[in-house]
Structures are given as structure tokens and as C-alpha cells.
Amino acid sequence: MLQDILVTGLVNGGVYALLAIGFSLIFGVARIVNIAHTAFYMLAAYCFYTLLTRFNVGFALAGVLSVLGVTLLSLVCYRLVIEPVREHESAVLISTIALGLIFQELMLAAYGGNFLGVPSTIEGVMRVGGVSIPYQRLLILAVAAVMLIATWFFLYRTRVGLAIRATANDLEVANLMGMNVHRMAMVTVAFSVGLAAIAGVVATPVTAVHPFMWLDPLVTMLAIVVLGGLGSLKGSIIGALIIAYVEAITVFTLPEGAHLKGAVALGIMVAVLLARPEGLFGVAFEEER
């Protein structure tokens, strides 16, 4: 059971971290609370499913196409829906909620409410110390690790990453220094949604595809981001691991654990917030200028 907890926590933590980092980046750079973030994750899963089972393209091609397609779609949505109301924070907020609902309903209309299964990308299991780990879970873990390192490289070792961090730090000054903050916002949206889409593609084989699959990760992702501190990369990763392990422990040790896992994870978040309102690694609040 201990091994199960360790593996499940690590794999789920990887997926959650991919989602949480993207959400946190969009919030930091563009000040958008993107409720539709996990809806893009769902769209990528559907896209992957369709390409794989209806058009019979290979795993790799299907994955790449769905990530690219969803990223492109996010840019279109940003230009058409978010950009015109950027100045009104509340309007942006419900625009993203409405976008999420629209995607959910479109998928419901197109595919119905059934749970759809996607075959594993790699079959087979690996045995480590008496516990069998499916290769699919190892793949998720590997992809998550590679993407996290790539994100770190992108943010801390490239000029665009520098600009993104500068914009997140202080939008006005970044603008005065000649950075195109609108373009930075678009780059961030594309990059973050790309991360969510990758998470959707690799995680689909172990979770079923259905139109409401975006709600559970949405809440978990928000809890992680708040727990780790909004806008903090390290906080998102550590928060994701904490929440994933708490969920895994609850599911494997408590009776009725499957019902309680969300409640326990969210309870942990509330407890952390009571002690540190800015999250584990967030910067303490300063008054907005």
C-alpha cells in the first residue's frame, strides 16, 4: 500500500503541477483568473481521443496535433473574448467561466456524456520492489518532469522568459522598459495552455474522457495554486505534490476515502491559508499601486 501511495502521489502530482504552473503563470503575467484552464485540458483529451480512435493516426502525431490545436484555439479565444474586456476584471472572470461552460456543452453535444476510454500509449508494467507500475504512469511522470524542466529553462534561461517574469513582477515598469506586454500575455497564454494540453494528452489513458472531467482538476488546481502561492513556480510544484500525496493517502487509508479526498485536500489548503495567507511560497501582500 505504501508503494501505491508513493507512485500514485508522484504521478498525480506531476499532472497537477503542469496544470497549476500554467494557471499560475497566466495569473501572474496577465492577471487573468483563467477558470477555463482545465477546460483546455479536457479539449486536448477529446482531441487526442478523436485523432487516435477515429482517424487512426499514431500516438505521437495525435499528441502533437492536439497540443498544437488546443494552443491555437486558446489564442483565438484570448483575442476574441478576453482581450476586448481586459480592463474589466469581473468581466474577464465570467468570460472564462462562460468559455469553460461552452467547451463542456460543445463536447457534450458532440460526443454525449459517456465515459470514453483511450488505449494506453505503452502497454506493460514494470515491477519495482514488489509493486507493479504500468509504463503509462511512468510515461506521465517522465513527460511531467521533462516539461517542468523545460518550463524552468524557458522562464529562467531565455529572453522571452525574462520578459515574462518582468511582466509578472511589474506590468507598468515592464511596459515602460519597452516590452510588449500584450504580446507577453499572449505568449504566456499559449505556453500555459500548451502545458495544460500536454497534461491532458498524457493523462487521458489513465482517466476516462468525459465532458465534466475539467471540474475536478479545476478545483484541485486552484487549491494547489493558492496553497503554493499565486505566481510561484516552486510553490506550484510543491503544492501539487502535497495535494497529490494527501489525496493518495486519503484514498488508500480511509474508508469512504474516494468521497473524502477532495474535502481533505481542500481542508489542508484552508489550514495552510490560516497560517500563511499568501501561501507557502507566495510573496506577502503589498498594496496595489
Binding site: F27, V33, I35, V81, P84, V85, E87, H88, S90, A91, L93, I94, S95, I97, A98, L99, L101, I102, Q104, E105, L106, L108, A109, L215, L218, V219, L222, A223, V225, V226, L230, E256, H259, L260, K261, G262, A263, V264, L266, G267, M269, V270, L273, L274, P277, E278, G279, F285, E287
Partner: protein, 358 residues
Amino acid sequence: MYLLRRAWAEMRNEILVLPSRTLVLVWVVGLLLLPLAYDDAYVLRILTMTCIFAIFAASWDLLAGYTGQVNFGHALFFGAGAYGSALASLKLGVSPWLTIWLGAAVAALFGYLSGYLCLRLRGSYLSLATLAFPLIGLGLLFAFPDFSGGELGVSGLQRLIVGPTANYYLACVSMLVVVFGLWLIADSRFGIVLHAIRDDEVAARASGINTPRYKLAVFALSAAAAGFSGALLAHYLRVAGPSTLEVALSFQVVIWGIFGGVATIYGPVVAVFILYPLTEWLGSFRHFGELRLLIFAVIVLLVLLFMPRGLTPWVRDRVEAQCPRCKQRNSVWRKICRLCGAPLQAQVARAERLVGHQ
């Protein structure tokens, strides 16, 4: 006779001079007279639900619009009211006329608790943290099905009154009373303090306002109103189910509030009266039935693209203008101000309007 003449004068001078007030009057009278003219059970049922949800939306606005505590988990209070009232009336056998107050009290307690947890949080942190509260409640409900009925909820409740028309009047009158009460509160000194807390909490504290106490008070108050509407709905539908705590309901109330225009109280009510019957009406078509949520979301999106501050502020700016001298509102077609006689030039008025909304 004197009283009648007095009432007429009041009405002409205070209500009919402004288009928005006239609209409110027409709406109230229309709501009260509707069952006399047209008492189709289906229409009355939809309007009863609309009235109940209008209370819920208005209570959200007091918390989120006025005080700036944008709550993403308002369904917690709705569910607390519904379950509190339902369990009390079923397990203790108390009359529902008493238990709806108990439901509101339970909700107020929950409001106080979540307000206490949120005291140190601000802005987006607060929104995202509050989203968690109803889900924790939902997890607990599912984990203890003996007590809460699990997926099915608590069913077999008594209605408050029998008959569609009586139920309609009950919901409608409670809606008018609660919404008017909330509006009075929001317009009082208390409401001004709430405005101050939203605009600049540090400045409010520096002016000697005990902001935590006000925040807790408004959390409890708003939760009590929401719990009251939840209890009304539970006894109207005769079931309190887990759907009263879902994320969808929390999001729904945010959409209503922002669509109607925040910090107005009447805005969310208007939004509910437009959007709820609209979705029900769309649902009654066979082909649209599956797509009604989609159409709902698209309508919200399109309306926001053109009226980013919400529906009612947009409409209000079209029919009314602010007097440049005394800042009183006038209907837009007047040449001079109704109170101070200053000329209302279109350009001056428009500039003032922009300043007035900063």
C-alpha cells in the same frame, strides 16, 4: 383623500421622474398582479424559482459587489440553509415556517465561519479559497450518507403552502422584502462602510473602521439571506439535494451577479429574471434542450463584450444622466436638471458620467 393625493404627489415627484424607478415600479406591480391575469402552473413554477434565485443573487452582490469579497463558494450558504432547514423539519418534526429561519441561522453561522477563515485573504486568493468551502461540505455529505441522504439528498419535505399561486406569492413577497431590505442596508451608513472596505481597506482602517468586524457582519448577513433562499427552495421542491452545493451553482451566481452589474443589488435580480426564465424557455424546445447551457454561456459572453460593466449600469446610462452641478440623476431627455435647474448639456453630462463611475 388627502393621503391619496399625497401618495400621488410622492409618486409623480419621486418615482415617475426617473425612468429606472418607473421601471422598478412597473416590475413590482407586474409581479404582484401576474397570477391574476395569467395563472399557468408552469409559468408560476418558473417564476417562483426565479424569485428564490433572485434572493440568492442579491445576497451574493452584497458580499462580492459592495464589500469586494468576491465569493466563489456562495453555494455553501445556499446548501447550508437548504440542508439545515430540511434536516430540522424532517428529523425534529418542526413546522417548516420555523425551520426556514433555522436554515438561515445555520447559513449565517457558516457565513461567519468562512468569513473568519477569509479575514486575512484578499482578492483572487479569497475567491479561490472560498471555492473550496462548499466542496468540503459536499465531500462530507457524500461520506456520511446516513445523515445526509448522500446522492439523493433529504427528501419528503413539507411545503410551506399548498398550491402554485400561493407558493408564487410566498416566494415573490419574500423576494421583494429581502431584496428591498438588502438594498436599504447597502444604501445605509453600513453600506457606505462596505464601499470603503472594497475600495481601500487600509484607508478604511486608518479612518477608524473596524474592518474585520464589518467583514464578518456582512459575511453572516449575506449568508443568512442566501440560506433563507436555500431553505425556501428546499421546501418548495420538497428536497434538499447535493446540487445545492455544487460548483455549478457557485459559478451560476457569479455569472448572474456580474451579468446584471455588481454593487447595485437590483442588477443581479434583473439578471436572474432575464437569464433563468430564458434558460428554462430554451430548455422547453426539444432541439435546444441539450444546448441550453451552451446558448446561455454564449449570450452571457456576447452581452459582456458590449456591456463589460454589466447590463443594468449600461441601461441606466442610456436612459439617465447625471446633473453636472448637483450630481442628481435625471432622465436623459430633460433639458435642465429637475432639482437645481442647471442645464444638462449632452457633452458635459457625458464627461461627468465618466468621472462619476471611476
